[in-house]
Subunit: 138 residues, 2 copies
DNA sequence: ATAAACCCTATAAAATAAATAGGGTTTATA
DNA sequence: TATAAACCCTATTTATTTTATAGGGTTTAT
């Protein structure tokens, strides 16, 4: 399951996508719309901005706005950013690899081999779904 | 990511699959093979037995053994048993459904719609990989 | 009888996720 | 130029979940 952080990030991106022609959007408005803690959401938006998905304007009249096209924001990226690995085991993660301590030889491990396949097929799904798909369903 | 519980369950099932013609297998032997705590593994094997994947024999000379064909043990079942939902959000889980508190109308939620698709495609992958696939990779 | 081995429930420890706190900086505007 | 609005940043606390341990109970071959 996704963490609440990632779920809230998706909600925020959706909201920003729906209001992309209205200039900046306040954290406050997003937080209120979904009943999310203002401060918790603030941290999430900060991460999304640092990762290059959002822009922000400081000071009075400021706020956040999308700086990428919804079609260029795949689920896989958002999940990795906020939740970490998509792979089911550390030993098959492309971005967060770690060996499994109980495994003598990764290349002789049947679990490893199957999980590589699962990872590749799962990734295909998550790379092909983007914020644009979410927006077109609203 | 899978919990260690699920990962250990897969190791145990793999071990039992490899030794299926040798009668019962001791918890101790599996725990030693993978460096897993005996007691932690015991709980896992207990769950697998209660769920109908393993049989056990009590008393001296007892142990565990597979009572299903490896091809009839899909990853999806093991993951659901030990880790819970496969869906990425509670609102799209088939077996562990819960509404999202922040969502006014699930049927108008673009995230929900996309996640239903992700769930179905992911499930297809995990239902089509079984212990047999793991064993053939060892 | 005895020791080996699984059975079962409860609890503790560790790790992670979720939320909160509190002040800092920037900027439009009166 | 004072003010208030709004984002910026780091640290800490709280809650939840995961991982591991504890301790005895029951069954069974020898």
């Amino acid at each position: 399951m996704l963490s609440k952080k990632t779920k809230y990030a998706l909600h925020a991106l959706t909201y920003l996508g729906k209001h992309k022609d209205e200039g900046t959007v306040l954290i406050h408005d997003i937080a209120e719309e979904y009943g999310i803690s203002h401060k918790f959401l603030e941290n999430i938006l900060l991460e999304l901005r640092k990762a290059g998905y959002l822009g922000s304007k400081k000071g009075k009249g400021g706020g956040y706005y999308l700086i990428k096209e919804p079609k260029d924001i795949p689920l896989s990226r958002i999940i990795r950013l906020l939740d970490g690995p998509i792979a089911l085991l550390p030993c098959v993660s492309l971005n967060y690899y770690e060996p499994c301590s109980e495994c003598k030889d990764e290349f002789k491990c049947g679990i490893n081999k199957v999980m590589v396949q699962v990872r590749d097929e799962t990734l295909k799904i998550l790379e092909n779904k983007s914020l644009a798909d979410i927006l077109s369903g609203e």
